[in-house]
């Protein structure tokens, strides 16, 4: 495996290996909770919490886990942190927890988290895994913020609940409904691919 500097390890999650735009992982929560910026942000933070702590735990006990049962072990570790995040949100941020509904427990099947454990944490040191998890989390949160900002501004004319569009603006309700999620993400993916193609041809 080619060695990367710590900085490269962190930055790759932002664009080159961005979980949503480049790897197409974790689509379900991405589409489901981005109808308002606050929901997307809360989801991003909860997922980051789980990803960062699971990566640290998996990379520190990787030698203890027999190869045959590694996936099951990762799932138990991830599920433990998801339970903690779920309980924490329900206890201190009840309205958000209610808004996110079943999608908080569903972080456990978010392929980003299991994917990083299998592809990275199980082969790298604790420090590197932590940096990798931080980068990936930031990339995920940013992608969620972009998607939810577009949907909230166009769909409700608001940003974080504050009116940002003038009174001339008629909200496109469809953007906060499920079809808006699919179409917005489809267009964003196309834009990401186009940027990637442009930069590649320039190199």
């Amino acid at each position: 495996m080619p060695t990367k500097t710590i900085r490269e390890e962190f930055v790759k999650g932002l664009w080159d290996e961005n979980p949503i735009f480049r790897q197409l992982l974790g689509m379900c929560p991405t589409l489901a909770v981005t109808n308002a910026v606050i929901n997307g942000f809360a989801m991003g933070l909860a997922t980051s919490f789980v990803l960062i702590f699971s990566s640290v735990v998996v990379s520190s006990i990787k030698k203890l886990i027999p190869n045959q049962v590694r996936i099951a072990s990762y799932i138990v570790i991830i599920a433990t942190f998801v339970t903690m995040a779920d309980r924490f949100l329900a206890a201190f941020f009840y309205p958000i927890s209610k808004e996110l509904g079943p999608y908080v427990p569903l972080i456990v099947v978010n392929c980003i988290i299991l994917g990083r454990q299998e592809a990275f944490s199980s082969k790298n040191t604790v420090g590197r895994s932590l940096i990798d998890a931080l980068g990936m989390s930031l990339g995920f949160v940013l992608a969620l913020l972009i998607l939810s900002s577009i949907r909230e501004i166009l769909g409700m004319g608001t940003f974080l609940g504050h009116q940002v569009m003038g009174s001339w603006f008629k909200p496109w309700i469809i953007m906060v409904l499920p079809p808006g999620a699919f179409i917005t993400l489809g267009i964003l993916l196309a834009i990401a691919l186009q940027i990637e193609r442009k930069t590649k041809s320039r190199r």
Binding site: L24, M27, C28, P29, L31, A32, I71, A72, I75, V76, A79, T80, V82, T83, D86, R87, G101, P102, P105, L106, V108, V109, N110, C111, L114, I174, L177, P178, P179, G180, A181, F182, I183, L185, G186, I187, L189, A190, I191, L193, Q194, R197
Partner: protein
Amino acid sequence: MELAAIFISAMLINNFVFYYFLGICPFLGVSKKIDSAFSMGLAVTFVMTLTAVVSWAINYWILIPYGLDYLQIVSFILVIASLVQLVEMFIRKISPPLYQAMGIYLPLITTNCAIMGLAIIAARKEYGLAETVIFGVGAGLGFTLAIVLMAGIREQLELADVPEALKGPGIALIIAGIMALAFMGFSGMIK
């Protein structure tokens, strides 16, 4: 009547793909050919029905009586993972042709959020056993419908001239958006 409402709602109105956004990965990944999409749909329906029963039993016989409902996430995911393994081994032993048809899709299903989502949503809605089973069958059939329709459109799309950057997931998501729009038309069916 109540059961019929749950069935129709799970299949059409609150379709798992278009309303809950669950099972997007196989929906985009295995929807290039109608045949494989149909097999995937059947495999998902089968596992969903089974999961519905098992997760209901765990929830109401073990977790709730002993006050362990905070273990819901951990126990559901473990049971689903082992259940899929068991089903795979069972089908391989009992019926090789059936295994040929849907066996290869079974391992993929473990990480399918639709299955876990079904268990969690059914538990949160506090459905009884019969309602949970109907919910599982309806959700599975709804998924099959969605993925087969999608595959049909994508087969035609092969011949279309799509802009280079939109090819693959981009155009698939936009089509899914238009289909979700169409499925919203079902929402007036049940008051």
